[in-house]
């Protein structure tokens, strides 16, 4: 029951934030909307016992990534009006038709097809198995997935180096 109430609140907040990202004219509003969505998704993670992932979501996404986004928005300037002219003919109409088609297709499949969201879902939910404590995550992370772990560490190092190189952009002398 508590999970249901929290799901409705967090789900509506996530959807509201997502809509804000798309419709807001000012990029700062978009960033704040995304921030709300990220927090709401973190709440949904907690509801599903993914405690560590929820904490990492708040720290890394809502903390680091969104700060970076806001810094770049401030750097680039927020007062730039987005061009309203359409360089692709009928872009909005096509996108609207695509969206309606996707929604109708998904609704049709879920309502009338032989459809399950998670086909291999077990009927009995075992509480301990997916309780995402640090210990529970670390065990597969440092045994089965240690190679992937090292690879992502290398990836992060490369990304940091690449960001430094890109930031040292110098205007070409013509």
């Amino acid at each position: 029951m508590v999970e249901g109430i929290l799901f409705v609140i967090a789900g509506l907040a996530a959807l509201a934030g997502a809509v804000t990202v798309v419709v807001a004219r000012n990029p700062v509003y978009s960033a704040v909307g995304l921030l709300g969505t990220l927090f709401s998704v973190a709440v949904l993670y907690v509801l599903q016992l993914a405690h560590l992932v929820a904490a990492v979501q708040v720290i890394v996404y809502a903390g680091a990534v969104m700060t970076l986004f806001l810094f770049v928005i401030m750097l680039i300037g927020v007062d730039q009006e987005e061009t309203r002219s359409e360089s692709l003919p009928l872009q909005r109409i096509w996108v609207g038709m695509l969206a309606v088609g996707m929604i109708l297709f998904a609704a049709g499949v879920t309502l009338f097809g032989d459809f399950e969201w998670v086909p291999a879902a077990s009927a009995t939910f075992i509480e301990g198995n997916t309780n995402g404590t640090i210990q529970a995550i670390a065990e597969p992370l440092f045994t089965d997935w240690v190679l992937a772990f090292e690879a992502t560490a290398l990836l992060l190092t490369i990304a940091a180096a690449a960001a430094v190189v890109l930031a040292q952009f110098k205007r070409k002398r013509s």
């Binding site: 978009s30 992932v53 730039q80 998670v118 997935w145 690449a162 890109l166």
Partner: protein, 100 residues
């Protein structure tokens, strides 16, 4: 316990909104945020599926996706800033140098 269908439907809705934003907006930063939105929707499906399948590996996959997304944001924003310094615009419509 909320049925997993609800989580999956919510994630699908978030993904759809992100995809629509990707198609509709021209500001490179906002498009980038829409990518983050779609990544989060996928993470939510992974967590939900991992829960009903009694498998912790769903959460491990989300962990990796978070790390890779952070790296992606760092490089992507650096590229946007570099483009902005050269062209003084963040609109993807004006980046047509590769047009044949």
């Amino acid at each position: 316990m909320v049925p997993v269908d609800w989580y999956m439907a919510l994630a699908a809705a978030l993904f759809l909104i992100g995809a629509l934003g990707m198609l509709l907006r021209r500001n490179a930063l906002v498009m980038f945020m829409c990518i983050e939105l779609m990544l989060n929707a996928v993470n939510l499906t992974l967590i939900s599926a991992g829960r009903v399948m009694n498998d912790i590996n769903g959460q491990v996959a989300v962990f990796f996706i978070l790390v890779v997304a952070a790296a992606e944001v760092v490089v992507g924003l650096a590229i946007i800033v570099a483009i902005f310094r050269r062209r003084a615009t963040a609109s993807v419509d004006e980046l047509s140098e590769l047009r044949g």
